[in-house]
């Protein structure tokens, strides 16, 4: 008792520290008790209900014990296709509890997790913040037995995950799988060269350079970066902020993990460039909780850059150029990749997106104008400053200049990251990745498009197939409905619940889809499913709900034959409610003969 109280005093009495405090309590106690909720509330002058609201919002916080060692096994579709269920069974058998439970002695808890950014080496798990990849049933047993025999999870990580990175600080890291280096990100870069280059320019000139390069946001939405910086700069008020969005949560994306492992200097320098351009002296890297193991490495890089004068005061000898970066951690929530939700989360709140307008560039972090850029965007900006806008525009397409770092996973020989020029045809990428006769490719993750072979000549760029970087390949014979159901489960799990269409509609779509998959659906159901999807897209409050119907809508469009094959040929309409099925438990309890049901139990 009381051990968590010391944690409180480590943190300043600032409501903005709420996530950090809960995270430390969770790490120490394995959960956030009612007593802890109450003490945290008192410490930060919040109501207990508010603290509970935040603690119950994020995946990696829990109000019930999750075990001294907590296994979060990735539940993405790629993990499933690569043998997750056998790995999960091995964990369960060896630990002696089911997923969603903690062992009787409180030692080990088993829980599912949305994509943890290891899609090129699934099945993967986060165990007390450390990552274990390429899991097999045997490895799962070794881990649990090791823990039972008194080994620490760090020792096990040392044994099972050989260090392969540039830093000694996280030797137990995952493989990087950099399959193709391109000229923008993975080209030689001298730290400090970008800030030295802009020291003699005024902020307007820096913005002009970025505008001239036509750099578009790399997170997926593709907003012009230079314009974003300019709008932010033009706001009134003395203080502005730069955020690097390192909360890549779209299932199948892991390129930011590779960037932050190998070239964080480029990202931080890009932040300094952005800071100079918009007039911000503070930068915040919002790092997803799944990548917490990168934090000490990133802090060390920041220290190094401060010592080298690339961050700090009077950067490159320019007295009006002061900029530094701190790291804020997420706590597990896909929605926090949305820029206004990210800001809410950084302020220590639930990750509900905000209403826009006003946009974050107008009213953002702590009410100040705030620029939120993807880490890849910032890295590209630093390179543009050094090499020039014209150089950048020689690559890519007319509307999508430069290169894109793609995270490729699924059924292929060479999963990993590929830096390619925008405009690459999907089939070229599939060749690079060694994909053998794929039956479908998911471009842009669940919120993107499921492309059928007829569309493999399409191009990856903002004019055609836009993507934040996730490309998941499904080989011959894969069940597309299994993919779609997994993606819908993901959106149901990740919806913040703030607005009606996304909160309720995704579940209703999944039910309707289930009816069709089970062979109980008619063409009326198909039409209603499409209408419902369009309605959710039209009325949802943020990008999550505006794209959550895509797994169903894009497969209905690109794989219509799959849906048609499941429809009932004998009827135009069938009720959702299966009367006989509903009667079944009652009949069984009463020992009466059951009426015939239309479908069997799953």
């Amino acid at each position: 008792m009381g051990s968590y109280k010391k944690i409180l005093k480590v943190h300043a009495k600032d409501k903005g520290n709420l996530l950090e405090i809960i995270r430390d309590v969770q790490a120490r106690e394995g959960y956030v008790s009612e007593a802890a909720l109450s003490d945290i509330a008192d410490y930060l002058d919040l109501s207990e209900a508010e603290v509970k609201g935040v603690a119950s919002f994020y995946h990696f916080f829990s109000l019930q014990p999750r075990g001294r060692t907590t296994v979060y096994l990735d539940d993405s579709i790629t993990s499933r296709l690569k043998g997750r269920s056998r790995v999960a069974s091995a964990f369960e058998e060896e630990a002696g509890c089911r997923f969603g439970q903690v062992t009787a002695d409180g030692a080990i808890g088993l829980f599912p997790a949305s994509c943890i950014g290891m899609n090129d080496q699934e099945p993967a798990a986060l165990i007390n913040g450390l990552v274990f990849t390429d899991l097999t049933p045997d490895k799962a047993r070794v881990i649990v037995r090791g823990l039972k025999n008194g080994k620490s999870i760090h020792e096990l990580a040392e044994e099972m995950m050989p260090g392969r990175g540039q830093s000694e600080l996280f030797r137990n890291m995952a493989a990087l799988n950099i399959r193709q280096k391109g000229p923008v990100l993975f080209a030689p870069f001298e730290t400090g060269s970008a800030v030295r280059k802009i020291a003699s320019l005024n902020p307007g000139q820096v913005i002009d350079k970025i505008k001239c390069s036509t750099l578009l946001g790399r997170g997926g939405a593709g907003f012009p970066t230079g314009l974003k910086w300019e709008i932010c700069r033009n706001q009134d008020g003395p203080k502005r902020f730069i955020f690097a969005n390192a909360d890549e949560g779209e299932p199948g994306t892991f390129k930011d993990r590779v960037i932050l492992t190998e070239i964080p200097q480029l990202v931080f320098e890009g932040m300094a460039v952005a800071g100079y351009a918009v007039g911000a002296e503070e930068g915040i890297l919002y790092l997803r909780a799944e990548y917490a193991y990168l934090r000490s490495h990133l802090e060390a890089v920041l220290d190094e850059m401060r010592r080298a004068g690339v961050l700090g005061k009077n950067i490159a000898g320019n007295r009006s150029f002061n900029f530094d970066v701190k790291i804020k951690m997420g706590a597990g929530a896909y929605i926090c990749g949305e820029e206004s939700a990210l800001i809410e989360s950084a302020e220590g709140k639930r990750g509900d997106p905000r209403d826009r307008p006003p946009y974050p560039v107008q009213v953002g972090y702590l009410g100040r104008p705030t620029t939120v850029n993807n880490v890849e965007t910032l890295a590209a900006a630093a390179r543009i400053i050094v090499e020039g806008a014209c150089w950048f525009k020689t690559m890519g397409t007319i509307k999508s200049a430069g290169t894109k770092l793609l995270s490729v996973s699924g059924d292929c020989a060479r999963p990993g990251v590929f830096e390619v020029e925008f405009g690459i045809r999907l089939e070229e990428l599939l060749n690079l990745a060694g994909a053998d006769r794929p039956s479908a490719v998911q471009v842009g993750g669940p919120s993107g498009t499921c492309v059928a072979p007829a569309g493999f000549n399409r191009k990856i760029c903002f004019e055609d197939l836009a993507t934040g970087g996730s490309v998941i390949i499904f080989g011959p014979g894969r069940d597309i409905f299994q993919v779609v159901e997994n993606f819908m489960d993901f959106f149901i799990e990740e919806s913040c619940g703030r607005c009606t269409p996304c909160r309720v509609g995704n579940t209703l779509m999944k039910l309707k889809l289930g009816k069709i998959i089970q062979g109980r659906g008619t063409k009326t159901d198909l039409r209603q499913l499409e209408e419902l999807g369009k309605m959710i897209k039209a009325t949802s409050r943020c990008g999550l709900g505006q794209s959550s119907p895509n797994p169903i809508l894009t497969t209905m469009e690109n794989f219509p034959e799959l849906y048609q094959a499941r429809l009932r040929p004998d009827a135009d309409f069938a009720p959702d409610f299966d009367f006989a099925q509903a009667l079944k438990p009652g009949c069984q309890a009463a020992g009466r003969e059951c009426p015939e049901t239309e479908h069997e139990d799953e």
């Binding site: 207990e48 919002f57 209703l508 039910l511 409610f577």
Partner: protein, 236 residues
């Protein structure tokens, strides 16, 4: 600053700078249905029933500032159908039993269902298990009827800014929590305000009920929205 002119379903309306589309519409006698919106509170933009189409793009009228020249579609068939769907979603995600509810006749969700002539939702009922919280001295919180409009969350704060109501969980499990300690200090007047601000029957006062009999309640004789339309627009 000068007046802003916008067009809603072909009718020209004027708005003051800073006014939302919803406010401008109401001043103009045009009813845009709402559920989470409450006069004087910061809009939460959560129910989405006020969705309109502005220059071809969808937006929530309650949060969207009016901008000169906007062409707005409001009571057009496809948008009205979407609103109907949203109302139906709210019915199936909860457990709403109107005949047994103290709020019947004063309930905005029920009134919207009447206005939109909903006899039975097109979606399957989800029959969720919800908890009733009766731990506080003056209020029952019946989550079966809650539509997560967030009015109570926004409205009730202590003098030092603490929230008395808050949202917990996420997604379909989202749930309103009432702070036990702070709620214990709520006055009779606050309890009455809390019940009145709730558009449905999720917040009820203890030890009092049916003060106004069924048949004499807000929406018993005139449909919701008619007070706005009688002021200028008129229903078709």
């Amino acid at each position: 600053m000068s007046e802003i002119k916008i067009t809603i379903d072909g009718k020209t309306c004027s708005a003051k700078p800073g006014q939302t589309v919803l406010e401008a519409a109401r001043n103009c006698g045009i009813y845009i249905p709402t559920l989470c919106h409450f006069e004087g509170l910061k809009p939460s933009g959560s129910c989405r029933i006020c969705t309109v189409r502005i220059n071809g793009r969808y937006a929530a009228a309650c949060t969207q500032p009016a901008v000169e020249g906007m062409i707005i579609e409001n009571a057009v068939p496809d948008i009205e159908e979407m609103r109907k769907e949203l109302i139906e979603m709210l019915f199936v995600e909860g457990n709403h039993v109107c005949p047994a509810c103290e709020k019947s006749g004063n309930c905005e969700l029920q009134a919207l269902a009447y206005r939109y002539e909903i006899f039975s939702p097109r979606f399957p009922f989800l029959f969720p298990k919800k908890e009733v919280d009766a731990r506080t001295p003056k209020i029952y919180l019946d989550r079966n009827r809650c539509i997560l409009c967030l009015r109570c969350v926004e409205k009730f704060r202590t003098a030092d800014g603490k929230k008395i109501f808050a949202v917990t969980q996420r997604g379909l499990n989202s749930s309103i929590e009432i702070d036990k300690k702070l709620a214990a200090r709520m006055s009779e007047d606050d309890a009455r305000k809390a019940m009145d601000i709730c558009p449905v029957g999720a917040i009820l006062r203890k030890e009092t009920g049916f003060v106004i009999p069924i048949g004499k309640r807000r929406f018993d004789h005139k449909p919701i929205g008619s007070e706005i339309e009688e002021g200028g627009g008129g229903r078709k």
